[in-house]
Symmetry: D3
Subunit: 162 residues, 6 copies
């Protein structure tokens, strides 16, 4: 099992030196799953048509959040993000706990020396937080879970699929 790469020999955090890495095309996809009351999901879906589109705001927040990744995650490199796209999949059928869900999926791309896993992970987290913010006045118990990397490709460590 490899050692942490984010620490120098004094045991202090550093931004890993990637200057010797070859630039390659990289892509990463992450997801988060927002749990909410059936009535809340219904309102979100009605709002898309007429009264205020929660997911449109979350989409913009997620895209802008992806660009903020190196400001938020201390040891992340600043990168040229060449694409970020976010989609939402609503599950209107309540689960056994009576909760509906919205799965947020984000795909980020770059051409460079570091991957874009954190950009995709940050995008879905910020989109999920924004959904929570927009709906918290009517459903304070909302939560999100299963924030994970779905897949990645490019770079020395190659392709990964969860």
């Amino acid at each position: 099992m490899a050692e942490f790469t984010h620490f120098n020999e004094s045991g202090r955090a550093r931004m890993v030196d990637v200057s010797a890495k070859a630039p390659t095309e990289r892509v990463a996809t992450a997801q988060a799953k927002v749990y909410l009351q059936p009535e809340t999901l219904e309102k979100i879906q009605r709002g898309k048509i007429a009264k205020g589109d929660v997911l449109a705001v979350a989409q913009v927040a997620g895209v802008m959040g992806a660009k903020k990744t190196p400001e938020l995650i201390p040891m992340c490199h600043p990168i040229f993000l060449s694409a970020i796209d976010i989609s939402f999949k609503e599950e209107p059928q309540p689960d056994r706990d009576g909760r509906c869900s919205i799965t947020v999926t984000a795909t980020a791309k770059t051409s460079g020396q570091t991957g874009v896993e954190m950009e995709a992970m940050t995008a879905v987290s910020v989109a999920a937080l924004t959904i929570y913010d927009m709906c918290k006045a009517i459903d304070r118990a909302m939560s999100f879970s299963d924030v994970w990397l779905v897949s990645k490709a490019g770079g020395k460590s190659g392709t990964y699929t969860r």
Copy 2:
């Protein structure tokens, strides 16, 4: 059930007008639960002593992330955050899926016209993302879940405990 407050009468997002609200003391606590391999948790715990403290980096990231909340969440008000504290509780006993966990808890305070739920939620999310970033080279399947509001107090809507 109340209407979304974050939209104006044209159905467009707005930052809610809180100018008529009385300033009160407000506090909010949120959590996130990071799932990881037992070997990864072990390395994090060994690192605290000698080789690089992942959680110290996540702690700083979470505190700084809380301050970035109004930049990340589109309809959040800028606020004077009067306190933010983060703690980690490690569960070294693997669950039935063989995963260990670290529960991140953040408490935010302010005195003002809006609450600090989003600051606490953002703090735990950024701390969890940072743990993922620091460890992803050795445990790419790490994830985080159960990001929710634990409790809040202050403001018109009063006290809430999950």
Copy 3:
């Protein structure tokens, strides 16, 4: 006619000292007018229903831009912005130059020692820039004009209406 207040006695820029001012309720409204081809406006209006809502993105950008005012305008004070709302009024009837228009109006509020004129002005500018960005691939000659303060109230200089 008064002197510039944003310079100290050495003729160097400073952030004006407002510590002796009484906090008051303040509100400001600004506007910008985006000129575009009739076909572009038509696409924006069709998109609102089905294919991608340009103005929803501009709205979020304007709200977030308002919060960035003290980062953008060097001598602006950081403030607690208690409300920001933006609206769009489309003029589908071409003017004598054959151009249609969208008027962006933003109203900002705060309770404090400085006004929110710049927050309203910045909000409409960023919203107009975003409309340009979203449509520039199909209408590169778009422009915006008449960025001005519509009205303000509160503070020592009192009420102003253009």
Copy 4:
């Protein structure tokens, strides 16, 4: 007439994928025109020598604003900006409405997969907003207009001159 490129097939905003584009040298020039009272322009011109240089502050704000473009305009790519220069041309002769003007022109350059139109447009807008901020205490009716792209070169869509 082309379709909007900033939306995905669900009609949600995305950052356009430019990863397949060839990097080329790109340059863009934009302008904005600030209208002000003759007395205000006179003060600005006197200040350049002795009492406080409004345009020096606007220049710095415009350069820094250009660098903030991807933070302000939601679907803009982060880029390596290789040059940004701003100039001011004062028109002391009042127009038929009795207003003088300052034309702000900005030229941005990059070598990459996306253009710098928005960087140039943002630079002139932030410079114009800063001039307004510095002078608003003495000339609240100031405004700016004719914010547009003067020319661009480089990239697939080639050269454009207004």
Copy 5:
């Protein structure tokens, strides 16, 4: 001698809870001293008149840097900064090492629950770094020293003068 206040009982950094503190008027002054070659200082002084004013850029950078303090210094509270002013004092007489100097002094004010020492310290540091950046092509050995708090007033710990 007091304990560090910036750590919680687990020894992890936190933003100190100031919610119980009474808001008071606070002011702080800090300084930094930039050392440079006599020829460099001469160029800076000539530039103020005609060829490009280094100190005007450093002034704007220092003011904007003060506003970024809570983004830079992890445990600093976001505050409403009510004033920031910066001045430069040039010493054209070379010291025994043959170096001239520019002393940068910044005074920050706020009314609130935390002090503005860090805002003043950050302002002078960013101004000094900017002078270095503007002149480094002609005087790479420039340095700055004696960055310290000159005085503060307000708050529980009262007045301090170095």
Copy 6:
């Protein structure tokens, strides 16, 4: 002696055009020296083990500060920073003024058209400011000095060692 390059022919600041420069590997090292009371240094050293690690926070702040360089220093180019590492060397032997010291050293790397001197200089400054912030309650007279470029390599001006 060369002219300032950061000004255009009107004597106004600009971001120097580097588009014609060849991208090369660049590295820069800078330092700052923090002076503090022997008791303060002792507390910092004890804290590393058990009670709160001041230098761990300063390390993270320095790394994140390096990434903020183009936001802080007006004429700095945004860059892809490929590595940043920071180390601390403590001098527990008091000097003739009775002060101990911590020397902060930062090394930054990039592959591009501009150097990383300012990133290294900003990293040490922000780390030094953070040490001051964390300890100021117990040692308000702390200061830092000797902020300078230790060495650089790469780029047209070649290698420099102080």
